[in-house]
């Protein structure tokens, strides 16, 4: 039988993966403009030849402009050329962000969004970033991981005066490296990070080193928005209750849609106060870079889970070679659920028979929960009311039932036939005989 692995191995012998699709790279180059709307890529599969091996590409490609990064649910930051300088404009301001239908957070962000819009540039560019402050307090912007003059580093008080409300500052520097970086305030961080102020700063290599078909970026964050409230509580240091991919929680996180065989880069960044082990099902990946730069291929090893530390980024690379709906999630189980009380009694194994009816005489809406576990919670939540602006702890419905997830969870959808990257292809159709089946009773 001709297995997938053997096929990949065979193909790997043909050439460096990066060289296989010049037409696509050209198309990306021509399309790239920075002013376009966020998210979608042009159809990158013109001239699609064959999937690359899943080992990290060892060769460098021809010089080319980078492809656009897909940052789900997050806009790109437009730029214009001004005297040879790529000029961006960030506006720090309060924003409203729907984490999922039924819950909107009064956050702080940039240009109406949290995460802030993604800055994309190319190694060698000189960039000028204007930062206007429309917050009620001063701020600054630190360009996390980027080599720059000390006075451009954005540490309020240390390397620059704070940007007071109403003021606009200009940062200007040459990009001397490439990789996945971040921007965030370095002023009143407890408040401003808790409120959601952060964004991607992606610098593409002048010469694509490891071109991919799909280049995704996900900002990880943890929030404390107490049940019944809508504003993040900056006083919380440990007891966060909402965990987001690009400031969205499951089931509102966008799926990652790829064609079978696509080379995929997934850029993960973390400015929360907790580390997140991000796990992908059905595949293995190679950690190809950090915010410190590219990891030499010889130093990489395969993984299914990458721990994204606090204040760091990780680029992982893989070939999406297995069709299906594959879960992509933080492996801390409390990060894949929406708010739940942390001090509630443990009802596991406790029957309320006899008492429940008595309690209902006082509280007509009382219902015993948790005796056999919490799974019935998702169905309860469908017909019972929760506090205002509060999501039930688990949600999402798949083709086989409740998915019982929340927070840092999404689905990598790998399809052999895909009409468009921009349209959700629906649930995977499993070939006959390839699903788990009930054999008893």
């Amino acid at each position: 039988m001709f297995t997938r692995r053997r096929l990949l191995a065979a193909l790997a012998g043909l050439a460096g993966g990066a060289l296989l699709r010049p037409a696509r790279l050209l198309a990306q180059h021509q399309d790239h403009g920075g002013h376009a709307a966020h998210g979608a890529s042009p159809d990158p599969h013109a001239g699609h030849a064959a999937p690359a091996p899943d080992a990290p590409p060892a060769t460098h490609g021809t010089p080319a402009r980078p492809g656009r990064v897909i940052v789900p649910d997050t806009p790109a930051l437009p730029w214009r050329m001004s005297g040879g300088v790529k000029e961006f404009h960030l506006v720090a301001e309060p924003v409203e962000r729907e984490f999922a239908p039924g819950m909107t957070v009064r956050a702080w962000g940039y240009n109406g969004s949290t995460p802030g819009p993604t800055i994309e540039a190319t190694e060698g560019d000189r960039v000028r970033i204007l930062v206007s402050n429309r917050l009620p307090e001063h701020t600054s912007v630190h360009w996390h991981g980027i080599f720059l003059p000390n006075g451009m580093d954005g540490v309020g008080g240390l390397t620059q005066p704070h940007i007071k409300p109403g003021e606009t500052y200009a940062y200007e520097f040459d990009l001397r490296q490439h990789g996945t970086f971040m921007y965030h305030p370095h002023a009143d961080e407890m408040v401003q990070l808790a409120a959601g102020m952060m964004g991607f700063f992606i610098v593409h290599p002048r010469v694509p080193e490891e071109p991919v078909d799909r280049d995704f970026a996900i900002m990880l964050h943890a929030w404390a928005v107490h049940p019944g409230t809508s504003r993040p509580d900056p006083a919380v240091m440990l007891d966060f209750n909402l965990f987001t991919f690009n400031s969205k929680v499951w089931p509102a996180t966008s799926p990652l849609i790829v064609r079978k065989g696509d080379r995929v880069r997934l850029r993960l960044a973390n400015l929360s106060m907790d580390e997140h082990p991000i796990h992908l099902h059905g595949h293995r990946f190679w950690v190809g870079a950090t915010d410190g730069g590219v990891i030499p291929p010889s130093a990489r090893w395969p993984e299914t889970t990458v721990l994204v530390p606090v204040g760091a980024t990780r680029d992982v690379l893989f070939i999406a070679d297995a069709p299906g709906d594959w879960a992509l999630h933080c492996h801390k189980s409390h990060h894949t659920m929406n708010p739940m009380g942390h001090d509630i009694p443990n009802m596991l194994g406790v029957s309320q028979a006899g008492v429940e009816e008595e309690i209902r005489k006082h509280l007509p809406g009382y219902m015993a929960m948790g005796e056999t576990g919490m799974a019935d919670m998702q169905d309860h939540a469908a017909h019972m009311q929760g506090p205002a602006n509060t999501l039930p702890m688990m949600a999402g419905r798949g083709p086989f039932g409740n998915i019982e997830m929340g927070g840092m969870f999404t689905v990598l959808k790998v399809r052999e036939h895909l009409a468009s990257y921009d349209r959700d292809p629906g649930w995977h159709r499993h070939p006959p005989g390839t699903t788990a089946r009930k054999v008893a009773p």
């Binding site: 009694p345 194994g349 008492v355 006082h362 509280l363 009382y366 019972m384 929760g386």
Partner: protein, 497 residues
């Protein structure tokens, strides 16, 4: 000339008895009223907004009153009915009412002149004098001072009857007010006991769940002990509420004179009426209406008349006129008038006048003191009533709804596993506690209203005696359904057990 003398003597006696009857008529010589003055007390009590109490004066209406009381008790009592029972049934009140009869008796005595004094003698002559006939004498003396002072004395006694009547009516109103207050206290105590019972029950359910959690290995002995202690403490509080209820019930029984008779309230407290009685003109109204004040004024009137009497007759200790007839031993009659008069040589009545004046002054000061007290009392009561209304309305319109809202919000947190059973049931207990506070505040308002009514001498303008029963959580209203009524459907509501 015996004929002549006897002829003389007849018209004299006739004239004297005519004069006597005339004086008696002028004095309006009083008789004892058949009801011993009770109906005039009834009138006053009814005029002050109470039911007209029909006090028994004989065995027939004794039965009638007893039947009325039994009928009232059978239906369960509200404050108005309890006041009626007390008016009919209280032996202590009846003892006080007898003062009215006694004052009438005093009036009867005062309105009658002293009886004429007749004296008679027979003397037998010593034979040596040669006289043979018996010497006979007859004197008839009528105290004139008593007769002349009769109208004033009667008027003073009438004033004292008025005073006694008003005082008795005041006592009746006081009893009615105290009984109302006691009944409000029973109604409130019953609701408080019900609320505490419900709170304990809710804590008991939480404790039961905690026991099950502990048995399942999910809850430490420490947490279980805390939850069970909370439950037991609430049971103790519920027990205290039962004791308070028994005490309130006994107080009301005592005021109504019910002894061992079993009775219950007919329902919970009436809710807060829309308005307090009008506060304007309250002091003037009080000075006009208040019965102890009116009684004191009547006493001042009596003292005034007694003072006048003392002044008018200060020089006379006594004045008597009469006729005297004597049969000499020789058989002849001598007949003639007699007059007795005290000579104000040493005592010109200074002491009596000064004493009467002192009594009058004292009574006038007492009237003033009572008036000042009454004015201060009604002002204070009206102010407290308004303040208590503020408390009761805040509890009714803000605290209770917010506690209910908190329960609803806790329930939403519970629904989403953001809170546990203990917090939810504790919130419900806080709601019962808010209702308890609300009931207590409404009780305080009604008790103050009863006191204000009494202090201002009866019902007030804009004073609604009854209102809708106040709203309590299901199952907590201390109503007992009529025996033949179907059991009420409480739906999801809580039951008191």
């Amino acid at each position: 000339m015996p004929q002549h003398r006897s002829a003389l003597s007849r018209p004299l006696f006739g004239r004297m008895s005519g004069l006597l009857s005339g004086l008696l008529f002028l004095a309006g010589c009083a008789g004892m009223p058949a009801d011993r003055g009770l109906s005039s007390v009834s009138e006053i009590v009814a005029a002050r907004g109470e039911v007209r109490p029909v006090w028994s004066v004989n065995a027939t209406d004794e039965l009638e009153a007893r039947n009325r009381v039994q009928a009232l008790l059978a239906g369960g009592l509200d404050a108005e009915e309890a006041a009626e029972v007390a008016l009919l049934q209280s032996a202590a009140l009846r003892a006080g009412l007898e003062e009215v009869g006694i004052s009438h008796a005093d009036l009867v005595s005062a309105s009658r002149p002293a009886n004429p004094l007749a004296s008679f003698f027979a003397r037998f002559p010593d034979g040596s004098t040669g006289a043979r006939g018996t010497n006979l004498g007859l004197d008839l003396t009528q105290s004139l001072l008593g007769l002349l002072a009769l109208p004033s004395r009667t008027a003073a006694a009438e004033a004292r009857v008025r005073a006694a009547t008003l005082r008795a009516a005041d006592e009746a109103l006081l009893l009615a007010a105290e009984t109302r207050a006691a009944l409000y206290a029973v109604q409130a105590a019953k609701s408080v006991a019900a609320m505490r019972g419900l709170a304990a029950q809710a804590a008991g359910q939480a404790a039961e769940l905690s026991r099950r959690l502990h048995a399942a290995g999910n809850l430490s002995a420490l947490r279980l002990a805390l939850d069970e202690a909370e439950y037991e403490e609430l049971l103790a509080e519920a027990g205290r509420a039962q004791a308070d209820l028994a005490e309130a019930h006994a107080d009301a029984s005592r005021l109504m004179g019910l002894g061992e008779t079993a009775w219950d309230v007919s329902g919970p407290l009436p809710g807060l009426p829309a308005n307090d009685p009008a506060a304007e003109g309250l002091v003037l109204l009080t000075l006009d209406n208040r019965l102890d004040l009116a009684s004191a004024r009547a006493l001042a009137d009596a003292s005034g008349r007694e003072h006048g009497l003392a002044v008018d007759w200060r020089f006379l200790d006594d004045l008597a006129a009469g006729a005297s007839a004597e049969k000499e031993t020789d058989g002849r009659w001598v007949v003639g008038p007699s007059l007795e008069i005290s000579i104000p040589l040493f005592d010109q009545g200074q002491g009596r006048v000064a004493e009467a004046e002192g009594r009058l002054r004292r009574q006038i000061w007492e009237v003033r003191a009572l008036a000042a007290d009454a004015a201060a009392e009604v002002r204070g009561l009206a102010a407290r009533l308004a303040a208590r209304r503020g408390v009761a309305e805040r509890l009714r319109d803000r605290v209770v709804p917010l506690r209910e809202k908190a329960v609803a919000e806790w329930q939403k947190h519970y629904n989403f596993m953001l809170a546990g059973y203990a917090e939810l049931l504790a919130a419900k207990r806080a709601e019962y506690r808010a209702y308890e506070d609300y009931v207590t505040a409404v009780r305080d308002w009604w008790i103050l209203l009863a006191q204000l009514r009494r202090a201002s001498g009866g019902r007030l303008p804009g004073d609604a005696p009854r209102a809708e029963p106040l709203r309590l959580p299901d199952g907590a209203a201390p109503t007992k359904p009529p025996a033949d009524a179907p059991a009420p459907d409480h739906g999801h509501g809580a039951h008191a057990h």
